[in-house]
């Protein structure tokens, strides 16, 4: 049985706003054929102010799908459509005090239903570009389609590349075999051979002793820059604050800040810096700087 938060249980056992709103004027109906979840979101929107006055849901799905739907309806009530559209799936998960990684797609379905309902109200066509493949990395909820596309688009060659670009494989490591299979498949298609010790495709490595201080700082910056897109994809970001000896101080921003996986994210970045600089580096959140200084 899943280890659901109290909030998920509360919204599953006693869902809010269950059922359809009778005279709804914004309806979103979405589903995921593979995981068998489906959701009908019915909203009553004031045409003058575009404020959502009533919200109701009907969900076919597991405990967290029902809880996510219930949470969504609570979150959108009283908001204008534009405000509601800013709600991300991470916001829904946060509202529920977290979802297991395998269940994050339930919150994605909630967000999609909302977008579909708004499109319905505005008389627009809603289409979905969301793809869902078999879940490969359970720690970070990364599926096979995303990994394969990322490998292809960025000419990735190693497991480390994949972890750096997608986070997949950066946690418990049990998916490393599957990731290497994807790499083998894509590289074979290109007529190449997967070698597990191949040189990483990004940023040519230099020996640390050849670097001046300024080169070394730039190098840290380059590495962080290369990591940012994947953080931004999760609606987060990272900022370099200072470098002091082997200590690199950073700020995690947006969804990354306070995220449950903050520690794993930082240790992944640290590992990457160690590899790229060829020396030991400690990545420390800037907010902890004083503690480190006094320690």
């Amino acid at each position: 049985m899943w280890d659901y938060s109290e909030k998920v249980k509360e919204h599953f056992f006693n869902p809010k706003n269950a059922g359809a709103v009778a005279d709804a004027n914004a309806i979103g109906e979405v589903g995921s054929i593979t995981c068998g979840d489906a959701l009908r979101l019915t909203l009553k929107v004031d045409p003058q102010t575009e404020i959502i006055t009533e919200a109701g849901f009907q969900t076919f799905g597991c405990g967290s799908a029902i809880a996510s739907s219930s949470a969504l309806t609570e979150m959108v009530k009283g908001k204008t459509l534009d405000e509601a559209l800013k709600i991300t799936n991470q916001d829904i998960a946060d509202f529920l005090e977290g979802l297991p990684p395998e269940k994050m797609h339930c919150s994605v379905m909630g967000r999609e239903a909302l977008h579909a309902a708004v499109a319905n109200f505005r008389g627009e066509e809603w289409s979905n570009d969301h793809e869902e493949g078999a879940l490969v990395c359970k720690c970070f909820g990364i599926d096979a389609v995303l990994i394969e596309n990322t490998v292809r688009e960025n000419n990735l060659r190693t497991l480390n590349d994949v972890t750096n670009y997608t986070k997949a494989g950066g946690g418990c490591t049990s998916c490393h075999e599957s990731i290497e299979e994807i790499l083998t498949k894509v590289l074979t298609e290109k007529g190449e051979v997967f070698e597990h010790e191949a040189t990483p495709s990004t940023i040519p490595t230099q020996k640390p002793y050849t670097m001046t201080n300024i080169q070394r700082m730039r190098r840290v910056e380059t590495v962080l820059e290369s990591i940012r897109p994947q953080l931004q994809r999760d609606r987060g970001d990272i900022e370099l604050v200072d470098i002091e000896g082997n200590k690199v101080y950073v700020n995690l921003i947006g969804a990354c800040a306070g995220c449950q996986l903050e520690f794993q994210t930082l240790s992944g970045i640290q590992q990457r810096l160690i590899e790229e600089l060829g020396e030991f580096i400690k990545v420390i959140p800037a907010k902890l700087r004083e503690q480190v200084a006094t320690a």
Binding site: F12, V30, G31, G36, A38, L39, C62
Partner: protein, 362 residues
């Protein structure tokens, strides 16, 4: 060598005889203790491939346990050819399709005795005869069947058979592989002389002795399983089917284990049902995707072409000789309001019954 060890050795010998009797094996040396059903399954298939390197094909079914299927998919990547027999809507095999595949290229046939989700029984004794005639080794994963139905291996052509301890009330973490005498064999674990060198590694003695005792008790209760437990199962099933609309039994109801009932509740999802059952103190399991963390519903339900709206709502009730009539009646009482509660939330359901709902699929 010392007298303390000798006592344990005697106890292992007794356990071996107890399981030998339950299986109707001719010789006690045909019993190899392992760590679990999965190890037994993997060992059987690997042994067949290693001992017959010129044979590169495997016949199995689309509804096997992952201990077989996942391993076979791995072997496919290494270049072996795996034939997965399909099943019909009741989960039954087509023996003509099977006959056509049997030839000298096949290293081993591995077909489960009873399906773990539906309890449907496969005609493994007949299939073993067919394999034997074609000169092909036959293995059966009998994890679900042993202790529930009478088995007499000496009068079959089954070459290998897997058992898992906890399925017959032995401790978890012990299993057994039956290996017919004179069957060519290559061990999975090599090392010491344990299990006559066929499974090296220190024996899990306490659990093996537990498995022996469990086998003895199961043997005494085989008739009880097929009369009293079966009656309880039927009572549960009929009670639920009578009280809940839009639900049905999956698998082959006329040909299945006496203790298993798998019911598909249409238009709702299994994990949600389990959460509410758990709250009511009832333990069951589901073929729903969401309970396992995969995104797909059970491969068994897909193989039987059960529609997604029903496949996700399948619940397996497994009874044992320790269940009582009062417990069964409590489940019959608890189920209908749970199903009603979840259907109220479902977009596929209205007060009038099933409703047309066609969402945009992502």
């Amino acid at each position: 060598m010392h007298s303390f060890g000798n006592k344990v050795g005697q106890a292992l010998k007794q356990a071996r005889q107890q399981i030998q009797q339950l299986l109707g094996a001719e010789h006690e040396s045909e019993i190899i203790f392992t760590s679990c059903g999965t190890e037994s399954d993997n060992t059987a298939i690997l042994s067949a491939l290693k001992s017959q390197p010129d044979r590169k094909e495997i016949i199995t079914t689309a509804v096997e346990h992952p201990a077989i299927l996942t391993f076979c998919e791995h072997l496919e990547k290494e270049g072996y050819i795996v034939h997965k027999l399909v099943v019909d809507k009741q989960g039954r095999l087509d023996l003509e399709e099977y006959q056509d595949l049997l030839d000298k290229k096949v290293a081993i046939v591995s077909v489960m005795w009873a399906n773990n989700e539906t309890g449907t029984l496969f005609p493994v004794e007949q299939m073993a005869e067919m394999a034997h005639k074609a000169g092909v080794l036959f293995h059966t994963d009998a994890v679900q069947a042993v202790g529930k139905i009478a088995i007499d291996l000496k009068n079959t052509k089954i070459d290998m058979l897997s058992v898992s301890g906890h399925k017959l009330h032995a401790p978890k973490g012990v299993g057994m592989l039956y290996l017919r005498r004179n069957t060519r064999f290559r061990p999975l674990l090599r090392g010491g002389h344990q299990e006559r060198g066929r499974r090296a590694g220190t024996e899990n003695t306490a659990s093996i002795i537990g498995l022996g005792k469990a086998a003895e008790l199961a043997m005494q209760h085989i008739t009880f399983e097929n009369t009293t437990v079966k009656t309880l199962r039927d009572r549960l099933e009929q009670g639920i089917l009578a009280a809940v609309p839009n639900c049905f039994v999956t698998g082959d109801p006329d040909n299945r284990l006496p203790n298993t009932s798998n019911i598909a509740f249409e238009y709702i999802e299994g994990e949600a049902i389990l959460l509410l059952l758990n709250k009511a103190g009832i333990a069951a399991s589901s073929g729903s995707a969401c309970t396992s963390g995969s995104l797909e519903p059970s491969h068994v339900m897909k193989a039987m072409k059960i529609p997604y709206t029903a496949a996700h709502g399948t619940i397996r009730f497994s009874l044992s000789r320790y269940n009582t009539e009062a417990e069964i009646d409590r489940v019959i009482e608890a189920i209908p309001p749970i199903i009603t509660q979840l259907r109220k939330l479902s977009p596929y359901w209205s007060d009038k019954g099933a409703e047309q709902f066609t969402p945009t699929y992502a």
